[in-house]
Symmetry: C2
Subunit: 764 residues, 2 copies
């Protein structure tokens, strides 16, 4: 960071695509029309675990309008997967969850395709299903993947730091509890949908909404056995992603049909398929054990997380590891052990969801902090303050925290909600008030390895700027913030930056809009490319201003001598003269942190680029007769590093907190015999505006990050994580009882108070 005044950062520029989205003019994948388009349908297992004895698609192939029928034999390379290639485009030998695809076809209309799909006859031999992770681990349980070397254990690992046994021995009090989270739907309003078409030269174009178009491209190239240069993936306007638009789901089927028929083909998921086929948030069972001193100092933490991965690994190993690393929370703890075990089951497979493992372990951690506080008789915020991380402290992977605004988030959140005042409120009678707090640490980007970011930059003859990046905006508003970073770096007005992205045939490779990496790492890539082209401009300006390039800077479209700002020229003049001299102003830039790396044995090392922190506080009123409650106020204070676009940051905080609110209060997938029972938004309750807190306050804390572009860290995912524990802590405060399983439904509230019997509802 330098100290020059900022011009483009810190301002709430509106998103360029905002007006068209509000006006209903955005072109979603659904809006793509092509003459001669074919419409797809997928034949799915409908049972959790079975051997396929035979597939007879002959009647379907002859059905009206049908152009093409696919079974496993039609897939050139029938395996893929983010980490383990355990998934088939079309299952040939076995199905492992009810959504597994067995056959696919396309026809002249959606209706004809669906009718024909019902004519495909699949003979199965049903196998006993593994319906939960405990069952998965039981000796003698059926194996979901016979060939997986560690049985139903997909992957396990441990974060080890210090000596937990020594730490427990030094503690005055050991606090243990078990916490459970349930699967959560991404619940994007736009279901998965794709259009694939092949041009006469044989080049495939696939239109999707995806956070990771280059992964889609790579997986398609793999399963179709095509070179990357023949596979173009275009990520279109997004109707929601939240981690759920990572994998090829329908794209390979649409592409195979398009390659076979040479016609455009579209596949989409129904809402029912969204609930039964696509990924969910991993259900965690977390055994949390802490050793603390009388004064509240945490000496040791041992966390054991058991994850239900469902039928396929997908991003599960990362979810397990990131969850484990965040499980001890934003606290300085000398002795940490955090184990995770990812299991295969015959449930719908879990994948990346906003918050990525840390959502679940943050819930456990922050509920556990309240438990400890109560046992020690220390005020919960005070307990957190005594252990809170600050800049320079080690994270649980041992790498130093390079910026930390945690204390400030606590101050701001507590002040805004009137923490002490609520604390003095009523805790008796039918309607009781309570207050809850949850703090959080969340990592930005990386995970033991750098996620590089690159961009092309081009300064036009009028000194406007074009940036080409592989980063896609799936609704978070990253397009606007990358433009702000580019404008700031070059020193031109924000309006003069144009961003090009979304098309794998144009943009530099990018790992994707995942892991809250875009603002920080993506921003560094854009900044680097712009800095390179700026160098070329300054060299030109140096000649014109008779000064050394290093003595020049650019602001608001003018290049000037830093020591004598009156010696200046319009940047447009410099750019135009450069073009006239034949010097086209181009550059490429690549950011790639070279210091990343962890020891897989203990997950110690430089695991992430940097860390963000937050504190959320909730005030609730609980009706102790019905268990119903209302969140009166929710305050979310987030340390995001430099807030590039405050409006956008607030939008991210509100959006994330809404998702966390649903996780904490109402969202639950009900399963029976390996099948999802609630398959629509009538029975799966995402919060509506009526359910939301009475007031919601977003507060921004800017602990500037030295590694980031202009101090930027990030905000996309973490806002989801503290909400559920803050709300549940508030409920527990109000009712004076513990709720350790999500979600905290009215029934769960009554159960916690001993007013109804029975166990908490959980998966299967």
């Amino acid at each position: 960071m330098n100290d020059r005044p900022l011009h483009s950062l810190g301002k709430s520029y509106p998103r360029e695509d905002g007006p068209e989205m509000v006006a209903g003019l955005s072109q979603f994948v659904e809006d793509i029309q092509r003459p001669g388009m074919l419409y797809g349908a997928v034949v799915r297992a409908g049972r959790p675990h079975a051997r396929i004895l035979g597939v007879d698609a002959s009647r379907a192939a002859k059905a009206p309008g049908v152009a093409c029928v696919l079974t496993a034999a039609d897939v050139p390379v029938n395996s893929y997967g983010m980490v383990i290639t355990d998934q088939a485009v079309l299952c040939g030998d076995k199905v492992r969850y009810e959504g597994d695809p067995v056959a696919a076809l396309c026809a002249a209309s959606w209706e004809q395709a669906e009718s024909a799909a019902r004519l495909v006859r699949v003979r199965y031999e049903d196998l006993p299903a593994v319906t939960g992770p405990e069952e998965a681990l039981r000796p003698g349980s059926p194996r979901v993947h016979e060939s997986h070397p560690t049985g139903n254990v997909v992957f396990e690992g441990s974060v080890i730091r210090g000596d937990v046994e020594k730490g427990f021995a030094e503690a005055d009090l050991i606090v243990e509890a078990r916490y459970r989270t349930v699967p959560q739907e991404h619940a994007s309003i736009e279901p998965h949908i794709t259009v694939a078409e092949v041009d006469p030269a044989g080049r495939l174009s696939v239109y999707v909404t995806s956070q990771t178009p280059f992964r889609i491209q790579a997986d398609l190239a793999r399963v179709l056995k095509l070179p990357l240069s023949k596979v173009r993936v275009v990520s279109c306007v997004s109707g929601g992603a939240f981690g759920g638009k990572h994998e090829i789901m329908l794209e390979s089927l649409a592409s195979l049909c398009a390659l076979k028929t040479r016609r455009p083909v579209t596949f989409r998921m129904s809402r029912e398929e969204e609930f039964t086929v696509s990924t969910v948030r991993h259900a965690f069972t977390i055994d949390y054990k802490s050793g603390v001193t009388r004064e509240g100092k945490i000496m040791a933490v041992h966390v054991r997380s058991l994850l239900d991965g469902g039928a396929y690994c997908a991003a599960g190993n990362g979810v397990g590891a990131k969850g484990a690393l965040m499980a001890p929370g934003p606290y300085v703890i000398p002795n940490v052990r955090s184990d995770f075990c990812l299991t295969y089951t015959n449930n719908g497979f879990a994948g990346a969801v906003r918050g990525f493992g840390a959502t679940q372990t943050t819930f456990a951690c922050e509920r556990h902090m309240d438990l400890i506080a109560r046992r020690l008789g220390i005020e919960p915020m005070e307990l957190r303050r005594r252990n809170a991380m600050k800049t320079g402290d080690p994270a649980h992977s041992g790498d130093a925290i390079t910026s930390c605004g945690l204390a400030e988030t606590m101050d701001k959140a507590a002040t805004a909600i009137g923490w002490d005042e609520i604390g003095r409120g009523r805790r008796s009678g039918r309607c009781r008030r309570g207050r809850g707090m949850a703090a959080m640490i969340y990592p930005v980007a990386g995970f033991g390895q750098a996620t590089p970011a690159a961009a092309f930059a081009r300064v036009n003859p009028d000194a406007t700027l074009t940036v080409i990046t592989g980063i896609v905006d799936v609704g978070q508003g990253t397009n606007v913030i990358l433009r702000q970073i580019a404008a700031e770096e070059l020193g031109i007005p924000f309006e003069h930056v144009h961003l090009v992205n979304g098309d794998t045939s144009i943009a530099p490779f990018d790992p994707g809009s995942t892991g809250s990496r875009v603002a920080h790492v993506g921003g560094l890539g854009v900044k680097k490319a712009v800095a390179e082209v700026k160098k070329k401009l300054l060299a030109k300006a140096a000649a014109a201003l008779e000064a050394a390039p290093e003595d020049l800077d650019i602001a608001e479209g003018e290049v000037f001598v830093v020591s004598a700002p009156d010696r200046k020229k319009r940047l447009a003049e410099i750019a135009q003269n450069s073009y006239k001299a034949g010097d086209i102003l181009l550059a490429e830039g690549l950011h790639h942190s070279k210091d990343m790396g962890v020891n897989k044995a203990n997950h110690q090392g430089k695991a992430f680029e940097c860390y963000v922190f937050a504190t959320q506080c909730a005030e609730v009123e609980v009706d102790t007769e019905t268990g119903e409650y209302r969140v009166l106020r929710l305050v979310a204070a987030h340390d995001v590093g430099r807030a590039i676009n405050p409006m956008n940051v607030e939008g991210q905080i509100e959006g994330g907190a809404s998702m966390g609110f649903g996780l904490g209060t109402s969202e639950i997938i009900q399963m029976k015999g390996g099948r999802v029972l609630n398959r629509d938004f009538r029975d799966y309750l995402i919060p509506t505006s009526e359910d939301m807190p009475g007031t919601f306050t977003s507060l921004i804390v800017e602990a500037l990050e030295p590694r980031g572009p202009f101090g930027v860290k990030g905000v996309a995912e973490p806002s989801v994580n503290p909400t559920a524990p803050a709300v549940v802590n508030a409920i527990c405060d109000a009712i004076g009882a513990e709720i350790n399983d999500l979600p905290a439904t009215p029934e769960a509230v009554l159960r916690a108070m001993g007013k109804v019997a029975g166990k908490a509802r959980k998966r299967s």
Copy 2:
């Protein structure tokens, strides 16, 4: 050039867009459909020269379906032009040719727009029209542009080398003649058409067929007063350009309507407008004077070219200068003076046309060579051989010719057509045979300044390559040859290269597909970018192969140690490992010749990148009773430098020769009182396949050019230039009389033979 064997160059890979074009599936601008599209119509002057007293568009504005009416006052900056900003988007004070636009409107259908256009009332005060260049220069003639400082002389200049008067004094014979060429239509099968639309964020997208999308972008930004970052121009599949799709013609009107109505707007020209509005090839009147020795050595040449520029300058000054520089032909001449004078008239304005001035002066030169040969009694080919340029000789701008295959083109063409044998044929009776030859020099790119070329290159993780270039393919097949150059440079299969271009919001700036620059300069830009990314790959491979990067090379997708080719690795492995290490493989490259520059006083200096040469020979049979003739054989031997794609080179030669054939034999715009009389293909005769020579032979000569990429020079334009003189020389040989004015219609043949009276038809 290095000596390694070539893998991708020299092979006739088919064009990627060939199948879809043949199948009728190409998406032309005409095929763009948008909901709510508006259709445009232009109110044009319909008179050659008049003052505008008033425009009343009130009735038109109220006509059914009309959404928007424009007059001059609606244009933010109402002037533009390639060199001189002498042209208005909509005329406000004066009209200067019959096609000048006075008002424009758009409506819900083409029919409503045309009906409404007829309701616009314009009051004019007619002014006397300047109908030809001689009249333009006459003292007291009306002035086309009152404010132009040199009256109706747009621009004049001279090529001066040696001392022509001294040269004439040393000569044994002075030969003088006047040659005239006529305007020629580009006659693209696709008329000018555009679609403009504005997104809700205010960004303009304009779809066109253009050779120079960045010029269109720049001119639109100027007249609309928008930053370049808000103006996107997409050049679509082309239905022909030939120099005629350089300027904004309809784009500014469509854009203004789109900006006003916020709806998509399309404008197109009717075929009649194509004939009366868009640019034509400049008519030249050329006074050609040569001094030669008895042995046929040319001692001096003085050429004076008078050009009819029509109402606006457009590219006229370049046409005049390039024509003047090529006028002395591919011959070593110690004393040269070549003057040109470009005039304003009230004819349709002239612009760039394939061949660009040299077409006209090559006709004069090569007819003149035959005249000299006849006067000296030297066989015409022999006369040419005695004076022919070779490598190392100076061009007429004084710069050394770095590669010259002229002699070889003469050998090949003469052999192929059986030159000597035809020479012994019959020259009497009603049907007579004749032979004609024309040689040519043509410059590649530049014109006193470098035309830089840039590209972005990206190697994908599977070692396929993406190249982003600003160069557009308007039908010449440059996309395929740039891919070949890229494949050759990187050492991967041709099929693994993907090219992205056509969209100004993505590609690096490019001056355009003009001046036969693409293969040579564009190729150098692509080669440079690929070489840069190759360096990065070789650095990675060096570590893997334990060798120095400079000892490595890549061929057919494998990287190997040059001195020990068995030590090798798959390039895909190197690329994949690079990505795994976070090193995204990107580069940008810029080619820009630093040695270009001419003295404007005498046009001496490094004027062009390099030169191509050609010889075309024709055999004709003339019916001396009717004047009708048939070209029995046409042979075209072209030195193109390295022939990247022989099939493509042959296609260019055939296409160019067809255009030259039309110029030589049938194409003439008939004018009366400043208005074009023949406004369609029924009355304006382009050659059909029936008219074409009985046999056509393309022959490639490869004089490798040290400045070019892999020895490449170019071929796009020059193939048009020798055809008309070769055919006319053959006719003159057959009939034993001179035809010095184009085209050589049957009427002109009879006139030359004294069988009909009167002057050759010419413009006005």
